[in-house]
Amino acid sequence: MSTTQQLQDFVTQVRRDILRQVHQVNSGHPGGSLGCAEFFSVLYQEVMDYSSSFDMDGKNEDLFFLSNGHISPVFYSVLARSGFFPVEELNTFRKIDSRLQGHPTTHEGLPGIRIASGSLGQGMSVAIGAAHTKKMNKDSHLVYSLHGDGELQEGQNWEAILYAGSKGVDNLIATIDYNKKQIDGATDDVLPLGDLKKKFEAFDWKVIELKEGNNIDAIKSALEQAKNLTGKQQPIVILMETEMGNGVDYMMGTHAWHGKAPNDEQLESALSQNPETLGDY
């Protein structure tokens, strides 16, 4: 187990990786990536039971699926720093001939990725399928997934949410990155999601509200609570309230950095707010 300070240092380095990846190619999605840095770090450093010698079938280990694939920079950074592939490879993000495509894919054989995502709304179904297979294989490990809140506007999610609730898929812990922002602005302005807690409950899910989605201890505690709720004939969702652009003052409180890279000066400012901890790639 890591101390909170060790995890915080990990998160700070992940933030630097995110910022440097998108800056280098002047493209990519820093906002949501930064908002989920703590979640990914806790999940891969503390919660999930997995082997970093990657095997697609992932038998007898926990699995994670990223549905909102555009936050690939945080996924890549955490996978690399969890031992799935060399940290130096972050240098190839979004460049030609790279395994680190703009959106995550199995196609180039990057260890740690089990499904392509990017076209939104598909990850919940995939996670349910993997959860079914775990049951059929008598594998008691869990399936985790992450989804954007704006992504819930895609109808396939609601097919999957209905299915998982009705069929009692109870080895699945889905987390919603509830930052209340999307490309065109506030989710409430684009297409309000309404009361997500009531909606998931109405579909027979167990709902955990995580108000401090950028607090390492709060995330740990929510994931622990979620694990304790598995195996009870209901799927579990964590509504994780995060701050888009967390850790970089000028990126917080706005949707402007959803899909925009910082320039040289902005990068310098952002990195100075997140001093190197584990060594840059």
């Binding site: 697609m56 079938d57 992932g58 038998k59 699995l63 699926f65 894919t105 199995t106 196609h107 089990r114 499904i115 392509a116 995502s117 990017g118 076209s119 709304g121 598909q122 990850g123 919940m124 179904s125 995939v126 996670a127 349910i128 399928g129 993997a130 959860a131 079914h132 297979t133 775990k134 059929m136 294989n137 594998d139 109808g155 396939q156 097919e159 999957a160 209905l162 299915y163």
Partner: protein, 318 residues
């Protein structure tokens, strides 16, 4: 010429159901998913014998494709079943990203393809699915011609690692291929040998092609009928060997000429051995309600149409 005996009309979808039931007994990794069309897809026997490996998804095809993709992670071989229209057009992006691009071992099994779905009409009669599926990198595309071949193909695709689109149909049609056949993906079957014209047919139109060959034979024209059950990968060797001999070709499919078997054959010929070709296919149109045989006649997808196109293409030979 070699002739074939119809051992009794039966639907190709029943061949799928029989193949799936067989796989249930022989391959414990095979699982089946259905979107509220279990009876129509003839999946009941598998469902009844293996309730732990059968998943009723409800009327939610996008979710079904995603669940199937996820099930492959951990070694299952999912077979999804619904109508061809809902198996392809409705879920194209799910297949593209979660199955094809992700390289998942999902078998998309599609019934009620084409005009012969009949009375339900154009909303359900997809004539574009072969094109949609063959354009996806890595996707194997199969359209079987009768009960026996569909059963054999269903069993064979479980052994093939990678995504497969298996297309079959609703009506009772002639069953004429061998009961004990081994299905080889990507390997054309030459049904009759001939020198004057090659007829390359797939799906329900293979039997029609054999009927056309008989009619042509009576007129002194010898037709070589090739059953192309696998549209991708295409057996180019068999096609070229035949067309080098006959010097002209008719393609026949229950599909739009745009994106179908005919265009794949035309590309092969253009690149390797240009030759006159006529297309028996729908002419960039939607279908309509009606009895299957009447629809095939109205849209020019039967033995009569194949015979006429064969005579026409022979006249175009240099």
């Amino acid at each position: 010429m070699k002739t074939y005996k119809n051992t009794g009309n039966i639907d190709t979808r029943s061949g799928f159901g029989a193949g799936l039931a067989e796989l249930g007994k022989t391959n414990p990794d095979v699982v089946a998913l259905c979107a509220d069309l279990t009876g129509s897809l003839k999946m009941d026997e598998f469902k009844d014998n293996h309730p732990d490996r059968f998943f009723q998804i409800g009327i939610a095809e996008a979710n079904m494709i995603g669940i199937a993709a996820g099930m492959t992670i951990g070694g299952k071989i999912p077979f999804t079943g619904t109508f061809a229209n809902f198996s392809t057009g409705r879920v194209y992006d799910q297949i593209r990203q979660s199955v094809a691009y992700s390289g998942k071992n999902v078998k998309i099994c599609a019934s009620h393809a084409g005009l012969t779905l009949g009375e339900d009409g154009a909303t359900h009669q997809i004539l574009e699915d072969l094109g949609l599926m063959k354009m996806l990198p890595g996707m194997t595309v199969i359209n079987t011609c009768d009960y026996n071949q569909t059963k054999a193909a269903t069993i064979a695709i479980a052994e093939h690692e990678g995504p497969v689109y298996l297309r079959f149909g609703r009506p009772k049609v002639a069953n004429f291929t061998p009961e004990d056949q081994t299905f080889e993906i990507g390997k054309a079957v030459t049904l009759t040998e001939g020198n004057d014209v090659t007829i390359i047919a797939t799906g329900h139109l293979v039997w029609e092609a054999l009927e056309a060959a008989k009619a042509l034979d009576e007129k002194g024209i010898s037709a070589e009928v090739i059953n192309i059950h696998t549209i991708k990968p295409l057996d180019e060797t068999a096609i070229l060997k035949s067309v080098r001999k006959t010097k002209c070709v008719v393609t026949a499919e229950e599909h739009n000429f745009l994106g179908g078997l005919g265009e794949s054959v035309a590309r092969t010929l253009t690149l390797n051995h240009p030759a006159p070709q006529e297309f028996v296919a729908t002419e960039d149109t939607f279908g309509e309600s009606g009895e299957p045989l009447m629809l095939l006649d109205k849209y020019g997808l039967n033995a009569k149409a194949i015979t006429e196109k064969a005579e026409a293409v022979i006249l175009r030979k240099e």
